[in-house]
């Protein structure tokens, strides 16, 4: 007669020799099950804290960027209170996106239909594809935009570089940059995270009077009003920063938006 008492079944299982095929399968199954529960449990329980960390970091970098722009505290005080507005824009049209809000942006970007694959010739930043929507931050004084903060992404020597680029109201002068994510060589390319280097971006001009984009990270010290000091020993990272900024202020990046702001349509 079959004994179905779980305790005695367990004892029988324990007593089974290890090379028994059923026991081998069962041990494998049991170990996998317990490990899967452990991993899932840890991931699910810790996810809210991790999401909080990421959001806090993003916020901290944004605040650091804003406070690093000279005269910004006066501007905020002038317009009073919470002057920084968050806008989701449609990159191709250069207008505020009608259907997407900051809350629904993440869901929209998980859909591949909302991404544009870049042709090799256009893809100077080396990112492959680009979202059609982006969340930007605008500071207004009166009706005109006095500062725009644009998230940008490029591909560096060690991996993706993400940054926030701050442009002044004329949309031709950089107000600052904050690198939010990078995996460049520590001590060399990773110096793009250093505030001393990032301060070099403030006041640099993007385009010259003929409208050509002139901004570059120089080789060696900066010589013109379009250049930022290069980083010694990190030529590829420096070039990646140049390409990233040029791509995103160009026609495939925020070009349409920049044109719209300059026309005063924002």
């Amino acid at each position: 007669m079959a004994d179905l008492n779980p305790l005695s079944l367990w004892r029988r299982f324990i007593a089974t020799p290890n090379d028994n095929r059923a026991k081998t399968l069962f041990v494998a199954f049991l170990v996998s099950l317990i490990c899967a529960l452990l991993v899932t449990g840890a991931t699910v329980m810790l996810r809210p804290i991790q999401a909080q960390n990421r959001a806090a970091e993003q916020q901290a970098r944004l605040e650091a960027l804003i406070s690093a722009v000279p005269g910004i505290s006066d501007l905020i005080a002038e317009s009073g209170g919470d002057a920084l507005s968050t806008v989701v824009i449609d990159l191709d049209a250069g207008t505020a996106a009608a259907a997407v809000t900051p809350e629904t942006l993440e869901a929209a970007l998980s859909d591949q239909a909302n991404w544009t694959t870049l042709a090799a010739a256009d893809d100077t930043a080396g990112i492959g594809n680009r979202p059609n929507y982006a969340q930007i931050y605008l500071l207004r004084s009166g009706d005109a935009v006095s500062l725009a903060i644009l998230p940008v992404v490029g591909s560096g020597y060690g991996g993706r570089i993400q940054a926030l680029l701050a442009l002044r109201g004329d949309m031709q002068t950089l107000a600052g940059i904050a690198v939010t994510e990078q995996s460049e060589t520590p001590g060399l390319g990773a110096r793009i995270e250093e505030p001393q280097w990032q301060q070099g971006f403030a006041g640099k001009r993007l385009v010259d009077d003929t409208g050509a984009t002139r901004f570059a990270v120089a080789r060696g010290p900066a010589r013109t009003e379009y250049e930022v000091d290069g980083i010694t020993g990190a030529t590829r990272t420096s070039n990646a920063m140049t390409q990233m900024v040029r791509f995103w202020v160009g026609p495939k990046g925020y070009g349409p938006l920049i044109a719209a702001i300059r026309r005063g349509e924002f």
């Binding site: 290890n18 081998t24 041990v27 991993v39 520590p186």
Partner: protein, 220 residues
């Protein structure tokens, strides 16, 4: 008495005499990658120690019921799960450090030290000695990482744990950082120097030469 003494020697043997990094030259790829500063080296050492101790304990507990034919798979699954849990924990509570360690915490799963200890020791011993042995190996790994991390951070950027120790020439001091120290090869140099020093002090650690030097006088 004898038992506690042997536990003590199990714990201390891997620190210098049987150090997994210096004597067995195991786990050096992560030792190169995370030692650019002391705090990442310490976090990595702590993570590896936690993983290897827990994995050794669990594997030792079920050692009589791991079928021989799938024992490596079972061990790897247990180790990998511990690693993921540790990684998630770091991401939740030590966010900044975990970003700088990036992928290397997850790569503990492939660290030879962990599988080496579970396969050669925990599989044949009771949980307590297994965990003590794993703790010793983890600490031995940590010791080497700490030494190399301290050297690289001190000479590469003049700091220790983020505090400026040597005044930089850029800021009016006298110390010019050696950027070589922040690149991977310097970890090889330091590790080589360390192994050399240790084997000169304890010559019994040196391997026998594969080919004895040829004696030229015989040919004449």
């Amino acid at each position: 008495m004898a038992a506690s003494e042997s536990l003590w020697s199990t714990l201390t043997a891997p620190l210098i005499r049987q150090n997994p990094v210096m004597l067995q030259i195991l786990g050096i790829c992560s030792a190169l990658a995370v030692t650019t500063s002391l705090d990442t080296a310490l976090t990595m050492s702590a993570s590896l120690t936690v993983v290897v101790v827990m994995a050794a304990g669990v594997i030792s507990l079920i050692r009589r019921h791991i079928p021989n034919s799938i024992r490596l798979i079972v061990q790897i699954i247990i180790i990998a799960s511990m690693v993921i849990v540790t990684d998630q924990f770091l991401k939740a509570y030590f966010f900044e450090l975990s970003q700088r360690l990036s992928v290397f915490v997850s790569l503990i799963a492939t660290n030879c030290i962990v599988l080496g200890r579970t396969e050669s020791y925990a599989r044949n011993h009771r949980p307590l000695p297994s965990m003590v042995d794993a703790l010793g190996s983890g600490l031995g790994y940590g010791l080497v990482l700490t030494l190399i991390g301290a050297c690289r951070e001190l000479f590469g950027s003049g700091k220790l744990l983020g505090h400026q120790v040597l005044p930089l020439a850029e800021q009016g001091g006298w110390f010019t950082p050696l950027s070589l120290m922040l690149m991977a090869p310097s970890a090889f140099f330091l590790l080589g120097g360390l192994v050399w020093a240790v084997r000169s002090i304890w010559p019994e650690q040196a391997d026998a030469p594969d080919f004895p030097p040829h004696d030229l006088r015989e040919e004449r």
